[in-house]
Symmetry: C2
Subunit: 103 residues, 2 copies
């Protein structure tokens, strides 16, 4: 597979987690229509109150980059930035296979 | 959603990563037939040579526990343990929504 995967960890300003979840769920809707998006799931985590994790899988790195630079994405990034406490952390992945993907 | 999500980070003995990937891809096949498995993806990561990440989403915590205690799962856990360097780390998630899931 040439797919690329990502776990992205967003830490928000105190109390802003649910506002960020809303923005990222809009990003998920955009991703759904973007070329090559196979998975975009927005998660909270019980252990950390002001954290959101996004799980992404794209058909290729080029598809992922293309989606990030789409006009709608830039608008949502602009909405997300004031909610954040610091730069998101990112774990890059190479999906080797598995179960449950649409593609 | 009552879904539960997990990122599980396995660190292997040196050079055993690909052997663990094989075992976990078998686990993915079992998961695919298990009740309530919505996602089970096995990943390597470019930054860490002896690491495997598994991304899981289950319909409920009970479905996840049920799958872990199935007979076939126990056999695969037995195959995985000698390949590991330490106890896997686990990040628990509450999926809030997104795109690309089968269910």
């Amino acid at each position: 597979m040439n797919k690329v995967g990502l776990y992205v960890k967003f830490r928000t300003q105190p109390g802003q987690r649910d506002a960020l979840v809303k923005v990222l769920l809009q990003a998920a809707q955009q991703a759904q229509n973007a070329s090559g998006c196979e998975l975009y799931v927005v998660n909270t985590t019980p252990g950390e109150e002001d954290v959101v994790w996004v799980t992404e899988i794209w058909r290729s790195a080029a598809d992922h980059e293309g989606a990030l630079s789409a006009p709608g994405a830039k608008e949502l990034i602009g909405q997300a930035i004031p909610l954040l406490a610091g730069v998101p952390e990112r774990i890059d992945l190479h999906p080797a296979g598995g179960a449950g993907l649409r593609g």
